[in-house]
């Protein structure tokens, strides 16, 4: 969300403009989404056997048990390799984001400079 806010600040775009297609999408989309929500709510309300979440109780029924123990047993023992792979994924994503945003910017700046000449 912070990223979104930064990008909104950075880009400083004007008001959004509506076209024929967007008005049609709004006109068809509202009833369609209402129908979708009604169908989903009906399915959820009719579903049997759904339990309830007890607030203030963790993952374990053991009163002395800790959520941290349960979660870390799974995260750092069984799923250690995927966990480490996500760190590589995040790193690649950061590098890719910087590369995309910077490369295009320098290219645009270069073309502007050539246009000025």
């Amino acid at each position: 969300m912070v990223l979104f806010t930064f990008v909104v600040m950075l880009l400083n775009a004007g008001r959004e403009e509506h076209t024929l297609g967007s008005r049609a999408a709004a006109r068809v989309g509202f009833p369609a989404v209402v129908v979708l929500l009604a169908v989903l709510a009906t399915i959820i309300l009719r579903a049997q056997g759904l339990g309830s979440a007890h607030l203030g109780q963790g993952l374990t029924s053991d009163p002395n048990g800790s959520n941290l123990v349960v979660l870390s047993q799974v995260l750092f023992h069984e799923l250690l390799l995927p966990f480490e792979l996500t760190s590589v994924l995040i790193l690649i994503a950061i590098l890719g984001a910087v590369a995309i945003a910077r490369h295009q910017g320098s290219e645009a700046g270069g073309s502007e400079r050539t246009a000025e000449k």
Partner: protein, 106 residues
Amino acid sequence: MSFLHQDVPLTWYLLLSAVLFSLGVVGFLIKRNLITVFMSIELMLNAVNLSFVAFAYQWHAVKGQIFVFFVMMVAAAEAAVGLAIIIAVFRTRATLAVDRIDLMKL
């Protein structure tokens, strides 16, 4: 703190998830700003995450909750790259209206 020891039906979580998902679909259909459309997609993703984690609680599946953690990781990576692409698109086209961004290549 008596409200900490109440039972919240799973149906409420699922209904909240459905409402959030529908709001995401509405935003995706109606808004014509690239950033708003992207935010709507993220909202839909998080709505599905909410129902996923609710079901994981229901079945006492710790792996399900860890899976939601991984989904959030991938969503963060996707958001970073997507916003970088949006910045690049805005620099080349000077617009964020999705109706004007209809060509892969200028």
